[in-house]
C-alpha cells in the first residue's frame, strides 16, 4: 500500500452513466433485429409477472434499460437468469418480444467478442 493510500487518499472512478462514450454496437444490433424493444415504457409489467424475477434477484425490465444506456458489462451473466417463459411478452402493453431481445443479446455478445466488425450486417 502506498503512503498516500495509507493516509486515506483514494482516486475514485466516476459512477455516472456516460452516454457519449459507450460501445453502442450491441444496442444497434439488437435494435436492428428487434425494433419493438426501443418502445419500452418501463412500466414493469414484465418484472411483476417474471417467473425468475419473483424468486431471485433478476429484473427483466432492466435488461433493455441497461442496453439502452450502454451498461453492457455484466449483461451476459444477467440474461442467463431468464428462463425464456415469455410471460413478459404476454403482459407487455407495447408487445415487446423480450425473449428475442435476450436471444439477440446472447448472439450479439458472442459475435462482438469474436471481433466482428460493426459494419457487418449480422
Amino acid at each position: 500500500m502506498k503512503a498516500a493510500e495509507k493516509f486515506g487518499f483514494r482516486v475514485l472512478e466516476t459512477r455516472v452513466i456516460d452516454l457519449e462514450n459507450f460501445d453502442g454496437r450491441l444496442l444497434r444490433y439488437v435494435h436492428r433485429h428487434e425494433k419493438s424493444f426501443i418502445t419500452c415504457l418501463s412500466c414493469g409489467g414484465c418484472t411483476a409477472t417474471c417467473s425468475a424475477g419473483n424468486l431471485i434477484e433478476f429484473n427483466v425490465r432492466r435488461i433493455g434499460l441497461l442496453l439502452r444506456r450502454g451498461e453492457t458489462e455484466g449483461l451476459e451473466r444477467e440474461i442467463d437468469k431468464c428462463m425464456l417463459c415469455g410471460k413478459c411478452q404476454l403482459v407487455c402493453p407495447r408487445g415487446i418480444n423480450l425473449r428475442n431481445v435476450i436471444m439477440l443479446i446472447k448472439k450479439g455478445i458472442v459475435k462482438f467478442k469474436n471481433g466482428t466488425p460493426e459494419k457487418v450486417e449480422l
Binding site: 417467473s51 425468475a52 419473483n54 424468486l55 431471485i56 428462463m83 425464456l84 417463459c85 415469455g86 410471460k87 404476454l90
Partner: protein
Amino acid sequence: MTEAHQSGITGIYPKEIAADNYYYVRSCIRQNFFPGSETAFLKIMRNVLGKNIYDDAVHTTCTGIGYHSDIVPFETIQTVVARQFALMTEKGFENLAVSCVTSFGIYCEIVETWKNFPEELDKARVNLKKATGREFEIPRNIAHASDIIYKFRREIAKEAKYSLVNCLTGEPLNLVEHIGCHYAKMFPEMGVGGAEFTSVLSSMIEIWGGAVVDYPERRHCCGFGFRQYLIQANRGYSISNSRKKFESMEPYHPDAVICNCPGCTMFMDRWQYVIAEMENKTYGQGGRGIPVLTYEELAGLVLGYDPWDLGLQMHQVNSEPFLDKLGIRYIPSQKYSGKDGKIMAGPVIPACIK
C-alpha cells in the same frame, strides 16, 4: 367467480372440438408416471362414448422436450410433427387428439408457423418426403384430450357411478384444477375459456358434482418448465413455483388437484414429497399430501373404474383419502398387485409424508 361469469368468459373462446374420428397421439412420459390415464381415456372414448379413435403404435415422440431444451432444432421438430400428420393422413383421419399438453402446444405452434410462413411448410414437406417418402395433410381439428373429455362431460356425467361429493358430509369436494401453460397461454383461442380463466377442467369438475377452488395463484405455472427442471441449476425455480401454489391453495383445504398436463401432474405430485423432506411441510390433512390426479383418472373414478386399474398406486401422494371421501370401494391389499395377480414389492414409504 360465479358460474355465469365463467360461462361468459368461455363464450369468448368458442373452441371447435371434433365430435368423432380421432387419431390419438400419446405422451412420452405419461405411460410411466400415470400408466392408467391414457388407457382409461381410450376406454372411455370407445366403451362409454362410442367414438372411433385410432391408437397408432408407430407414431413417435413429438420431440417437444428436446425442442424446449435447445437440443432439437426447429427444422427437425417440424419434420417429426409432419411425420405424425402423415401417419394420421395415411390412416384416413383428419382430427388429432393429443394426450400431452407440451405436444398440443407444439402442434399448435407449428401449424401456426406454417400459416404465417408457408415457406416453412414447403420445407417440412420436402424434408419429410426426402427422409421417409411420406406426404401429409394438416389436421382439420387439433384438440387436447382434455378438450374431448370436456366436450363429452355431460355424457360422462350420465354414466357416472360416483359424484365428486364427500360421501360423509354430502358437501361437494374441493378440487383445485391446474392447467398446463402450453394448453392456452401461447394461443388463448386454442383453449376452452382462454388463457386466464380456462374452463376445460373446471367445467368437468362442476358437472361431476365437485366445487372448484378459486385460489390466488390458480393461473400460476406449476414450475416444471423444461428449462427449470432439466437444468440442474434451475431446479430451485421449479420447486419454488410449486410451493407458491401449494401455499396459496392450502387455506382452501383442497381434497385433490386435477391437472391436464403430464409435467404438472408429475411435479405437483412429486414435489410435495421433496418439500416435505426439505422443509418438513405437508399440505394435506394429517401429514399427508394433497392427491394429484389426471383428468382421465378423475373421469375413470367417476365412472366407477377400479383405482388400481387406473394406476393410482403409481402416485407419490397416496390417493386413498380422496377415494374414501368419494366412497369408492377398493381392496387395499390389491394396491400393488400386478396384472397377473401376483403382489409386487411395494415402495418404501417415506417418513416425511404419509
